[in-house]
Amino acid sequence: MISLGILSATLLLALLLSMRGAQRTGEPTSLEQWSVGNRGFGTVLVFMLLAGEIYTTFTFLGGSGWAYGRGAPAFYIIGYGAVAYIMSYWLLPAIWKRGTAWKVLSQSEYFTHAYGSPTLGKLVAVVSIAALMPYLVLQFKGLGIIVSESSYGAISANTAIWIGTTATVVYVVLSGVKGSAMTATLKDAMVLLCVVGLGIVLPYKLHGGIGAMFTRIAAEYPGFLTLPSSGMSPSWFASTVLLTVLGFYMWPHTFGSVFTARDASVFRRNAALMPLYQLILLFVFFIGFAALLSVPGLKGTDVDLALLRVTRDAFGPWIVGLVGAAGLLTALVPGSLILMSIATTLARILRPPREGQPADSATRARMLVPLLAGIALFFTFRGGSTLVTLLLMGYSMVTQLFPALLASLVPQARITAAGAIAGIVVGEAAVAVTTLSGVSMASLLRSWPHSITDINAGFLALVLNVIMMISISVAFPQRTNGTHRVVD
């Protein structure tokens, strides 16, 4: 059981690193210290935190699974990040400047201050917690797959999920944000090594090179390497990229890590650095395509197994163990950040912080962590969706916050709290209806051309959201422009 030994060793190392991170900064005493590291992080740490959140089990297993199961539509995953980083150059400094001036810790507090409305803040908190749940479930599910596959079935997926969840909880309670950044470094190094290594070696070893591999796929699966004219068509691609770009920084953990930066120039540098990091996905795709030719036949949610199956097919237990360990970290690091983010948000809604008692809410947030993990476990065991489906569901939900965020940066827009609330409620309702009932634009508008009906349904929700937000704000304008709105 060499592979299992490597997995356990990695888990222990991650826990040790998190404790060292906590020791070095001293026991975090305030919520601010625990969750945003006292706002003192430079380019490198913020880069790692952002990367730690963005490159998750989804990248590792979901990306290769989609290349394996769907082909060209998976390419959207490599595209949206780059477009989101372009936007980040202007968006993140603006959010940072306001958030830091208001001394806010979380997304929900940001909205409360921006619109002078605690109700809006609470709504945003509820939305973000609801959207993070599928994201957390995704990490736990991935953990189960990774451990059970790389232990060659010695540990069942369910047992693995229990162990992994417990480890994540311990890790979060011990470390806080600094620990996450330390382990993120280890994670990035291992993911880089494994993904780039496998992505280059597998096509050569199994199929005689990257070109030869794609030639075979093009011959055996005609149309697999281009977008189809209906279904996941060009308009599906563009609308999905755009939707995910708008949602990219609306995740509460991503939004929250913006406040860890020392100054706004950190984001400007990252906008040039992060797209390069995105290229890791290219190798993830190569692995998925190599698996398609070597271990064909995985269907439905099993496509998420493609990466580990092809690794087992081509290599011995040492390599499988290493890949499994990298996978374990891709679930642990983002999983811990998500948990921390939900806990912080919830702690602050339950009891808004008072001056002079910061330690109190940090303790409260920590105590919520096991409870939240338990809820996520419940959903993990009930599940039945692929990793990409879970991610897209969460994305449709958080994207609904974008119009109100944008309006908060443009005071001239005069969007009121009531308008923002109405827009978000309508948008989320539309997302819920389309997700739960499985209604798509294609089924509603049968006779319309594919170029319109293939547009991602989340987009329709976003349009309804904006219409609602503007009409309520125009119908019931606020007399004063509010003291909370403008900083600069």
């Binding site: 390419f75 477009v83 691609f237 797209p275």
Partner: protein
């Protein structure tokens, strides 16, 4: 627009969003990759270059 070079950022964004209309082909291959994938990868690299250029210019022009 006081800083017109910032419009450069639109180029990679449009190239990626419009990829399926400009580049939905397998041939010609780019480093062995199907053209669509190669196109997207190229523009992801260009995003980095463009954002670096804008960053440098923004630092220079107050």
């Amino acid at each position: 627009m006081t800083k017109p070079y910032r419009l450069l950022a639109l180029v990679p964004a449009v190239a990626i969003l419009g990829a399926p209309w400009f580049a939905n082909r397998v041939e010609p291959r780019i480093l062995g990759m199907p053209f669509l994938l190669g196109w997207i990868v190229f523009w992801v690299l260009m995003t980095s270059v463009v954002m670096a250029i804008i960053g440098v210019l923004d630092n220079r022009v107050p």
